[in-house]
Amino acid sequence: MPRTKDLQRLADEELMQLVQDGDPRAFELLYDRHGDAAFSLAYRMVGDRVAAEDITQEAFLSIWRSRERYQRDRGSVRTWVLGIVHHRGIDALRRNFVHQRRRASAEGIEERYEAPERTDAEALRRADATTVHAALEMLPDDQSRVIELAYFGGFTHVQIAEMLAMPVGTVKGRMRLGLEKMRRELAGGVA
């Protein structure tokens, strides 16, 4: 059995193999690597600390309980983890429980939970967040709005069309145009 120190040297994909073998230490390390990003995404979606914790915990428990589903050739572990969190977040939003709590919750969590830049990796992630955020900001308002409402708000395109009083086809078209522009912007930012 690998020592905990040895586990830290493993890439995510190798760590996942140990998780799939049922090793809780490997899973713990996986959480340490991706838990903050998961919680950050969950909080961005639901705007409520308790709900964000629930979503994050549900997501990681489902990863543990269905760990055999991970397949190495289907994308990075981080993308897979955040995809699960995103789906759980949408689930919570569409149950509508969180919309109500979000309106009532106090702001200021960012001050208490802001991730400190303890390591080079975290500094790089913060720089990456700035890059991606900038790519989103560069989109025309009508495109960034539909993308944010869909991805972070958990609204369907039908709901977005109603909210913005536009045809469903227009909403879908703007989603496509927005993702295309982001793709080009992010590709252009690669050294």
Partner: protein, 238 residues
């Protein structure tokens, strides 16, 4: 796959990547995606942008209590003799079944597979078959710390559901059990509540032949004729 069919669905690629399709559209679109190379190419091209979106959020630090709570559950389940420790061969069967179902989706990313899995209530492990007398299934639950098992006799006449670690369904509410055939839910004739320790059980007095799954929702006391929310737990019997 005709060009007409592709054109009918191509505008859904971006909405799909953003999680913005309705449940009905999702099932239809994924079936289309499995057979449309143009849409799959589109998907692969645009996914880099969709997958970047989580990186745009303000980085926050998750509370320590979340880690502690999560790992307490994981360590308990990882202990020798626990449910997940007994099931490696059955998990392999589940993995094989996933491969049989989705060969046409091989070019699609894990996000798409997960979308099917999560939204369709997958995540089920079949635990044991006690010499052909009874079969026990583990439920997939949305509730942190919650778990449940469904025991079905060999003749599938009735079943019993046992839950642990489940919160109260709320004032004036009960847990209602449903039988699922395809995408249709019918009452299983069973309502239950949980004790202070989160434990409860329900007898299902129905024939389970032809039943694809069992689900549980929270409903007003007395039950309802149709589920009013997404299930808090599901068991796949197919």
């Amino acid at each position: 796959m005709t060009m007409d069919q592709h054109e009918r669905y191509e505008e859904n690629v971006a909405a799909y990547l953003l999680g913005a399709l309705t449940e009905e559209e999702l099932t239809e679109f994924e079936a289309h995606l499995a057979g449309c190379e143009l849409c799959r190419l589109d998907y692969q091209r645009l996914r880099v942008a969709a997958e970047a979106l989580p990186r745009a959020v303000e980085p926050l630090e998750a509370p320590d209590s979340l880690r502690s709570s999560l790992m307490a559950t994981v360590r308990a389940e990882a202990r020798p003799g626990s449910v997940s420790e007994r099931t490696p061969s059955l998990l392999q069967r589940f993995r094989d079944r996933l491969g049989d179902i989705s060969p046409a989706l091989a070019a699609v990313s894990a996000a798409a597979v997960l979308a099917v899995g999560v939204l369709a209530g997958w995540g089920i492990s079949e635990l044991a078959n006690n010499g052909g007398v009874e079969k026990t299934y583990a439920a997939s639950t949305r509730v942190p710390g919650g778990s449940a098992t469904l025991t079905v006799p060999e003749d599938r006449r009735g079943a019993s559901l046992t839950v642990h670690g489940m919160p109260s369904p709320g004032a004036g509410r009960v847990y209602e059990v449903w039988l699922r055939r395809g995408s249709t839910y019918v009452p299983a004739g069973s309502l239950f509540d949980v004790g202070g320790n989160g434990t409860g059980s329900a007898a299902i007095p129905r024939d389970l032949h032809g039943v694809d799954g069992v689900a549980v929702t929270r409903e007003p006391r007395g039950g309802t004729k149709q589920p009013t929310e997404k299930p808090v737990m599901t068991v796949d019997l197919s």
